[in-house]
């Protein structure tokens, strides 16, 4: 019992305490985005991790759920409908589930690569249709709404960001518990069986198509809830919510987090939003870093960040965390940081040299501004420094590896 309750209590406390630790408004909006993205990744992992269904079109369900939620909010503010704002994400979820019922039937008839290809076609279809029907989806500009509707209930109007954050946190906690509980139901178990061996699952009397279909509807529901939450958070829903780029981002984040663990998507969602919203405020090269990080994860730790956490936790629990290991880790970290510093320096200078000069229309000599200091991107010294940092770090990493293999 303790093992089940403790992690959830920890998550609840974390969600409660996060805005107290980071009370700035920028941090608060970042936390709200993380909440919706984590929920989206969790719902996506019901397909990828639990069901082995690699979908390239998960944003379709969350996006259409968001459209459902924003339409409901607009009807509410017109006074045509009385509905509590707190439950608007539920409407988003139901819209998502409905889309799952309709679109999931043709897609889940196949598994594996064929499924992936169908979802790829589907996301293009849906995003093209959304742009084609501006009356319903608002065209390029999207549909905007207002989350403050009617008189405040118990002092909650959802005007201030902090209230929206707690709404998102509450929905995230409830949905995460539901998603976790679903894994242990017979449906969740059979879904794992269908992932691992659909033929044997069919032989013991379960129709793999039906199991996949049910899983997709449930996953689409939670994706829709996440879409509804982001509709409340941003008060605008545009066509890119259902697009292939967003679907790709969900896949990237979930995989970076780790699909084999329940908490993998949570890690992935947090890291992903840090990349796409926080890092993008500091550097124009964030997409390069995200892509490179993703490829690094795919090539070195296909289990994702969660598998690293799991390995570390096991070592700690077994008491194998001795001085030698600490020394190994510290030396690796040092080498990796040196390499990273070199790569970041080179990337930033390259971006500045290429895009900074284009943007300002100057003679291309715009220096790179870094923490108050400025670096001339056309001088040889910074480039030599970057190359030396990379070379030294890479050599150290190779030595580190050889030493580990020798033991």
């Amino acid at each position: 019992m303790k093992r089940i309750v403790l992690p959830w209590l920890g998550l609840a406390l974390l969600l409660l305490a996060a805005p107290l630790v980071f009370p700035q408004s920028a941090a608060l909006s970042l936390l709200s985005q993380m909440g919706t993205m984590v929920l989206l990744c969790l719902s996506y992992n019901m397909l990828l991790g639990e069901g082995g269904m690699l979908s390239f079109g998960h944003a379709v369900y969350s996006g259409l759920g968001a459209f459902g939620a924003i339409h409901l909010m607009n009807r509410m503010s017109e006074g045509a409908l009385a509905f509590p704002v707190t439950l608007v994400p539920l409407a988003g979820g139901l819209t998502g589930a409905l889309c799952g019922v309709v679109l999931g039937y043709p897609t889940t008839r196949r598994a594996g690569t064929t499924f992936a290809m169908i979802t790829l076609g589907l996301v293009e279809l849906v995003s093209a249709c959304v742009l084609m029907l501006p009356e319903v989806f608002g065209g390029e500009g999207g549909i905007s709404g207002n989350r403050v509707i009617g008189a405040p209930v118990l002092g909650i109007s959802y005007g201030p960001q902090i209230q929206v954050y707690y709404l998102i946190a509450g929905w995230l906690l409830v949905c995460a518990m539901a998603i976790c509980a679903l894994r242990h139901t017979p449906l969740g178990r059979i879904l794992n069986a269908v992932r691992d061996n659909p033929e044997r699952a069919a032989f013991i009397g379960y129709d793999p198509q039906r199991v996949r279909y049910l899983a997709l509807i449930l996953s689409a529901f939670f994706a829709g809830v996440s879409g509804g939450l982001s509709a409340i958070n941003f008060e605008i829903v545009s066509a890119e919510y259902v697009g292939a780029l967003r679907s790709g981002a969900i896949l990237l984040f979930t995989f970076i987090g780790g699909t084999a663990y329940f908490y993998g998507p949570i890690v992935g969602g947090v890291v992903g939003v840090l990349f796409s919203s926080w890092l993008s405020a500091y550097t124009q090269a964030w997409q390069f870093y995200l892509g490179a990080f993703f490829i690094l994860i795919v090539m070195t730790t296909p289990g994702g960040l969660a598998s690293l956490i799991d390995r570390g936790w096991r070592t700690w629990r077994d008491g194998a965390f001795d001085r030698h290991l600490v020394w190994r880790l510290a030396s690796w970290l040092l080498a990796a940081l040196v390499t990273l510093a070199g790569v970041v320096l080179a990337t930033e200078m390259a971006y500045q040299a290429s895009l900074g000069s284009l943007a300002e229309g100057s003679d291309g000599a715009a220096p790179l501004q870094w923490w108050g200091g400025s670096i001339d991107v056309h001088a040889p010294l910074p480039w030599i420094t970057a190359a030396m940092l990379i070379a030294a770090g890479a050599t150290a990493l190779a030595l580190w590896r050889r030493q580990g293999a020798g033991r």
């Binding site: 690569t113 064929t114 290809m117 169908i118 076609g121 990237l252 892509g291 296909p302 290429s354 284009l358």
Partner: protein
């Protein structure tokens, strides 16, 4: 008649270009078992590299050098990237190419900027080949058709009538057997991957100046060539050829026709929910048609038109 002929020729040109792209992809697809998401990125690289070379040496050397360079880059990607990921299974392989397509777009933007580059048709190919009734048909379109047809012929000869072609076919369908007979199958795979990328780059060289050379060009064509490969059937060059032409013609005709249900006489009250649907013209629906074809095909016949096995 005039409209139909010109549209047919334009569609044929687009279809041949699609086939140049998808022929490499379908070989790689049947080899890896998973589609290569970065294939269109090599098409884009081909166009950009050709633009860079054409600025120094001219168009004709670029036509030869750019595909070779990009093909070599593709072979390196296979050797140092895909082969390592291969042992983790299909999904990481697919995701690797997915991540690679992100990186290539960023790299291209880094080197050549975010706006289109002025990659132009060479002056000796700029002009009118012939005039049909009153519409002129540019020389460059004819050149594209010629290059694509020649490549198609060369590919067919290579695969059907040479020893290396025989080996490639054997390695694609029975890799273990080919390996047991003493052939270096990983080497063949690297060759096929590099060759496929070179074909994509060639499509980029001749397509980049006919259309626009910009960082979005990979995404624009990327999902269409998946449609071609999947609808045509896994590993089937003939299927890819038929589907390329089909989609090329279908899209060109659909874009050129300005017909909607409303113009055909379907009447709906303007306030009803169906009104926007009726007002949609065929030209507006055109981008959706290939994906519709894909979804219908996968549901009805997942092997594809000419495929022998399911993906």
């Amino acid at each position: 008649m005039e409209f139909a002929l010109i549209t047919f020729l334009n569609g044929l040109g687009y279809g041949f270009l699609l086939f140049l792209l998808s022929s490499g992809l379908t070989l790689i697809y049947s080899m890896m078992g998973v589609p290569n998401f970065a294939h269109a990125s090599f098409y884009m690289l081909g166009a950009y590299v050709a633009y860079a070379i054409a600025g120094v040496l001219g168009f004709w050397p670029a036509l030869l050098i750019a595909p070779l360079l990009v093909g070599a880059a593709g072979a390196l990607v296979e050797h140092y990237g895909l082969r390592i990921v291969h042992r983790y299974g299909h999904v990481p392989e697919l995701l690797f190419t997915f991540g690679l397509s992100y990186l290539v777009v960023e790299l291209v933007q880094l080197v050549w900027g975010r706006s289109p580059v002025p990659y132009r048709i060479p002056p000796e190919l700029d002009g009118t080949l012939f005039t049909l009734y009153s519409t002129s048909f540019p020389i460059y379109r004819g050149f594209m058709l010629l290059v694509a047809a020649l490549m198609l012929l060369a590919l067919w000869l290579l695969l059907r009538h040479t020893r290396i072609g025989l080996l490639i076919q054997a390695a694609l369908t029975h890799p273990q057997m080919a390996e047991a007979l003493g052939h270096n199958v990983p080497h063949v795979f690297m060759l096929v991957f590099g060759g496929g990328c070179a074909l994509a780059a060639l499509a980029g060289v001749i397509g980049g100046n006919a259309f626009v050379t910009e960082p979005g060009m990979a995404a624009a064509v990327g999902s269409i060539i998946f449609v071609v490969v999947v609808v045509g059937g896994l590993g089937s060059l003939a299927g890819a050829f038929i589907t390329s032409l089909l989609i090329g013609l279908m899209q060109t005709f659909a874009v050129a026709l300005d017909v909607s249900l409303a113009s055909l006489g379907v009447q709906v009250p303007s306030g009803s929910a169906l009104a926007p649907l009726v007002r949609l013209t065929l030209a507006q629906v055109a981008p959706v048609l290939p994906y519709l074809l894909l979804v219908v095909m996968l549901v009805v016949r997942p092997k594809g038109l000419m495929g022998k096995r399911e993906g």
